[in-house]
Symmetry: C2
Subunit: 394 residues, 2 copies
């Protein structure tokens, strides 16, 4: 069935463009809330298409496909940031309620626009510059020192589109490509950070907002592998300032739905803790997967409530600590035996799988564990994830 | 799509016969676990059919439809107890893994068989008798006193098929009907009980079992309206004996999946607390809905794990108390405005709706609230449910 079947009682249909795991993880909460979900999927076996009755196949760059899909929905939201601005504008022009709206989403789609806007709001950011030429890169390198970080302003995720470079010439090819699209490159100083944090919150069109506790995200080779909720030992004042900055960004940019603000925790010259913003994402985010089992309201339920302009749920955690560990694909495609083992070893581990083919390094699931002893939870979460990946075998 | 699309990695397909809310509430956990769900639904707009991609329409008494449905599944389980034994036997004969198996399920399908079997196990039951004639009823009335409780052995639920009678003649019509089917009637003494309790547990084909804490169920006009988890002030010894009886029943009867044992809490002649078994259900049960939000592993996830013979999850509660209140249909079919109000009034209330048309008295959803103050939680849960029903308007 490609047309969503509406539930009785006046309940709306939420359309999600993109059939990845973020759309998939909305399916359970949508069923509980009684709202209908429809997904514009990349393929009939996309992660979300496996669990949602209405999953027409179509591409997010195909304006007609997106418009046709949206015509059966009351609200349209997104699994990713890759819907082109011109498609978004057509959606809005056709009268569809789009959350987040294009004028907010562009700051998650375009990292140069984001840097400019956050700077204007006085939100702490690394020093940055736009580069179109090798001379621009060299000038910025002289200003902030080498190595520096170069990013393609659009389309990157999970470390793709990000490079650490020690000489301008390393960017010759990227600059050439950027010249053809006219997008330029974003250069940033390399931040000497203590650790990475994330502020996760949701905001509704009415302006209600709710933030989960600030978490620590642990990255390995540019991919988030572990999230500790809340961030252990976080300075309470820093936490309050980070949440305040997240709420201000959400309000000023008019974000609707879930907003993730990725931060670097830094020290100022006097050794006092501070932060700079690394990235924004305007959708449920890997740094919030812990909330599915660790909070009264998980991020996927909250995203649905927010885009429907329903009152938001409590983000209160259930337990002192929840640890999330990502399951990355390993070499062995038959996951089920490892999954049995993980469940048998630890009856408190919550295993979430995305119905995706195993490919080395691909995010295919995650696990959550909640409790009172952080070190114990980390050991268990990472062991379960590594066992599913095939990194450990006992 | 009526054929379930299998997820990669060796993950199985679970088929559920019956598309009611119990099947629906398996959808979220199935998506999280990565297993595929398929539902044999009564209609295209059945509660579960609204949220599961594979939901062929067919009737549970239609052997061919059930066999065809089952041929695409690795395991078959049930939304209700109404699949006829001859259909179940055909399923087993065709090589399908059926959980619970027919030889266990018959004790939930036939209350006379259940009474006989539990009596044989020494599990405390009310005094009971089979009646085929008015004389049988009169004799039992003389033995246990009037009024007494009469039950049709098959097909009853939510108070249907149960009558309290003060004279044998009130059962004339029921006896006549029972004579044509040869099923007889079950007569039971009316138990003078303190309150109703329920033991909920899951057992896997390998014999692993896990029980949630014993709960109190509050009934109104024969329908469960509220569940308090755990049962407040329950004598620890009584709790242990009740769970032990539940585990013994599950083991001796070979139950697989979730088993609910409904109990009356009674006092013996010396005033000491005891219990007698009222009913058995071999499927997720209304008395376990609290576990969806109140425990590490909810009953729907646990039922899937059990019927798949996966290791069971922890039944540990998240909070000191969780209160569940059923949402019954009221007079107003447009539920959505009330739902917004309930969410705005209490951000901690978890609202679960079943996508069903509102009909007066019909179970159309439930709410859960967890926390530390039982009286406060009861007030909030019942208010939210009553507001959704339309019983209260502010």
């Amino acid at each position: 069935m490609t047309t969503p079947r509406r539930a009785p009682g006046g309940f709306p249909v939420v359309g999600i463009v993109g059939g990845g795991q973020l759309a998939r993880m909305c399916a359970g909460p949508a069923a509980e809330l009684g709202v209908t979900l429809s997904v514009l999927a990349e393929a009939p076996d996309a992660s979300a298409a496996l669990v949602v009755p209405s999953a027409p196949v179509g591409h997010h760059t195909d304006t007609d496909a997106v418009l046709r899909f949206a015509s059966a929905c009351d609200v349209v939201t997104f699994d990713h940031e890759h819907v082109p601005p011109e498609v978004l504008e057509r959606l809005v022009a056709s009268g569809v309620a789009v959350h987040p709206a294009p004028e907010a989403l562009r700051f998650a789609q375009d990292k140069l626009a984001m840097r400019e806007r956050l700077g204007g709001l006085g939100v702490p950011c690394p020093r940055w510059a736009r580069a179109d030429t090798l001379a621009d890169v060299e000038a910025f390198g002289r200003e902030v020192g080498w190595p520096l970080v170069a990013k393609t302003p659009r389309g990157g995720y999970d470390g793709r589109g990000v490079r650490v470079v020690s000489a301008a010439t390393e960017l010759a090819e990227w600059l050439e490509r950027a010249a053809t699209t006219g997008t330029g490159l974003l250069l940033e100083e390399r931040v000497d950070f203590r650790r990475e944090l994330a502020v996760l919150l949701a905001r509704s069109p009415s302006g209600q907002a709710a933030a989960w506790p600030v978490v620590e995200t642990v990255q390995t080779d540019g991919i988030c592998t572990e999230v500790l909720a809340p961030a252990p030992g976080l300075d309470p004042d820093l936490s309050a300032r980070a949440v305040e900055a997240g709420l201000r960004v959400a309000g000023e940019l008019g974000v609707t739905g879930v907003l993730a603000v990725e931060l670097f925790e830094v020290e100022d010259a006097g050794g006092a803790p501070g932060f700079v913003v690394n990235e924004l994402a305007m959708r449920p985010h890997n740094s919030g997967h812990w909330s599915m089992d660790g909070a009264v309201t998980g991020q996927f339920e909250q995203h649905l409530r927010a885009v429907l302009d329903l009152p938001l749920g409590s983000p209160r955690p259930h337990a002192p600590w929840t640890v999330m560990a990502n399951v990355l694909g390993g070499d062995y495609p038959q996951l089920y035996p490892a999954y049995r083992h993980v469940m048998a070893r630890d009856p408190e581990v919550k295993v979430h799988l995305y119905g995706k083919d195993v490919r080395p390094g691909r995010k295919i699931g995650h696990v959550n564990v909640s409790g009172g002893d952080l070190a114990d939870l980390r050991e268990r979460a990472v062991h379960a994830a590594d066992y599913l990946t095939g990194v450990v075998t006992q």
